[in-house]
Amino acid sequence: MTTETLIWLIPLPPLLAFFLILLFTKKDKRLSHSVGVGAAALSWLLGMLVFFAAIGVDHFGEHPFTSAIGWLPMDGEIFSIGVLIDPLSAVTLFFVAWTVLMIFIYSIGYHNFGQPKGKDDVPGLPPQGAEEKHGKTSHTVPSVEPLYSRFFAFIALFAFGMYTLVVSDNLLTLFVGWEIMGLCSYLLIGFWYAKPSARDAAKKAFMTTRVGDVFMLLGIVSLYSATGTLNFREILYNEHVLETLASTPSVVAGLSAAGLIGLLLFIGTVGKSAQWPLHVWLPDAMEGPTPVSAMIHAATMVSAGIYMILRMFPLLSAGWHHGGDLTAAMSTMAFIGAFTALFAATIALAQRDVKRVLAYSTISQLGYMVAALGIGAYVAAAFHLLTHAFFKALLFLGSGSVIHGVEHGVLHTGEHVDPQDMFNMGGLRKKMPKTFWTFLIGGLALSGFPILTSGFWSKDEILADAFANNHMAVFITLALAAFLTAFYTARQISLTFLGEARTKAADHAHETPRTMTLPLMVLAVFALAVGWVGIPEHFPVIGGLLPNWFHDFVGGTLLEHPEAVAFSMTPLLVSLGVALGGLGLGWLVYRDVKTGADDPLRKLLGPIYAVLENKYYFDELYERIFVGPAKRFSEVFSYLFVDRQLIDGILHGAARAAFSLGGIFRRYIDVPIVNGSGDLTADLTQRFGQVLRKVQSGSVQQYMLVAALVTFGGLFYYLFGVLQ
């Protein structure tokens, strides 16, 4: 089989698994997860084969793997769809395959496979725990998820969406994968659909991303009408098309066609990757089970947004030359990205829920990538996408493991505390050593701990690029965000794992099963090692020991290979300073929080803390501007006025008129003439009917069958007549 055939096959196993589980194996939990994990493993294997075939090709960017078939005949030409693996999608495929497989395996343990069924468990609610007897004593243990098989079906479909998106060679199938993921994120966030909060979160996520998707679709349509194709290579690897797009003016004054299309597509990313001002759905998406959070927030959906603008970068930057003025789309991205990075990082400071901190941190890190792309740091953005996928999946799965461990303690002690609140934890490093060490690695990578972790290399590259190209505002904002990132990471780790247990539940926490810790360890290895493929050549001491493979490889995706930035001490010192400073400060403030104590930051920040805790009141603002008026409009205008008064009024009037008219007819025509003759007919008919009533069997389908038989009989008779 050729590599191209393998690429076609990559997305298929999860799709098959989805149908298999839903149609056939739903009853059997073991079979269902075997099908799901098996499909993920098969896709992983295909993905790895393709990836290693790709890195073996010289100048891969110029000779990518492509294959296409004609799909839709349009007038004159045929719209082709196909697969494309170039350096960017090869790297994306690599991290998607790994994280997806790990998340599938982790889900087995997370949903308590092998545990007894709880007697109070109902589908649509998280499992409540089951009584288990040990001789005379009995205690509560976690119980298995009631909708276990359905979960695997959904995440398999999700994986199918992501693989489709990655291997697509055109915007249309990319959009198809993109929307499949949108649907799955709705289904999965609302997985525990009996919880009102989960239902609301699912709706919110779906509708917020929809805002972005509509604009993105507009972008796709205008791109098609401007160029007549949606194929990536034909548009993005073609200087002529890009120049034409950059020089044609668009309907919006002052914007080129490329600029307008770029902006529209970017709005899609704003929705999907939860950038300000459409960031509100992502923290609420934490209502879903934790593997879902990892799936949506690390491996797939939010990465898809960044992947799309990375993919479309030549279009977004059409007309821009290295070192020159930024295009409209790029400066928008730089602004939104940098702003989001800082904005979300500040909110993360004041969150108590262990998963919510990570959610805001994700928004912030995605902002980093968007900003990096905005200032033209293509390779750095792709690099951060890669490292972030690994360490953020690790952190999310780690936090799930923590919650799982504390839940175990909650069930065991019967103490009613929120197992997700970090202030109810503490001292977990001794109870859950594997989770602790892997989480620590993830946390250090997130905060950019120097040299060892992957996060350092990618973040440093973004900062170095911003500095070298003199984008000082972006540089300072991102450095500040990096400092806050290190600080809240230290806060999270200190509150969760260090110090002493603050509740009995935390004291009875328990290490999670091997199916959960194994993915953590695999991801931890990547969170460390994946940064070493992109060490700048001129880095002091260790630069040049390993070639800067990532830059050469991914840079080849572009027509004009980007040059590596010259090395400079300032951004390095800044990134060292903010990472270590933030971590140290966070540890100092939070190392010794007592049971029931309030967040020490509240005292330091005063009223600002309340603003941060309430996420700058964005939810309230949107409620007031969009949701409230929409509700009032439908209540007052649509329902009370249009429906009740206008439409009902007309109907009632017509009814009254018809009613009185009917009365006249009845008295003078109906009763004497019609009824008279009718009754006579009826009498006759009745007698006739008494004879014929035996035919009425009462079964509609029997009548239908007789009618059909007669028809077919007649048809046969007629046809025979014609033939002879």
Binding site: Q696, G698, S699, V700, Q701, A708
Partner: protein
Amino acid sequence: MIPLSWYLVLSAALFSIGFYGVLSRKNSVAILMGLELMLNAVNVNIVAFWRFLAPENIAGQAFAVIVFAVAAAEVAVGLALVISIYRRQKTVAADEIDLMKW
């Protein structure tokens, strides 16, 4: 170009599936759905014949549109009947609706 026979096979398959549904489903709503399938199978047939045999006339499309209208009316009436039966009988199973039986 895809040959005419493909459309006819598709249409026949659709018709048979719909017909099977009409005869075999107990649920009256499902029977209505089967009916819809049959009607649309006819549409496929009409449009295919029109396209292949007499594309210069508009009759084929006109017929298809009329079938749409009839189908819509039929569903409106059918569903209204089902609802009102359900209100009286608390069931939509076709074999339990036998008020008219002698």
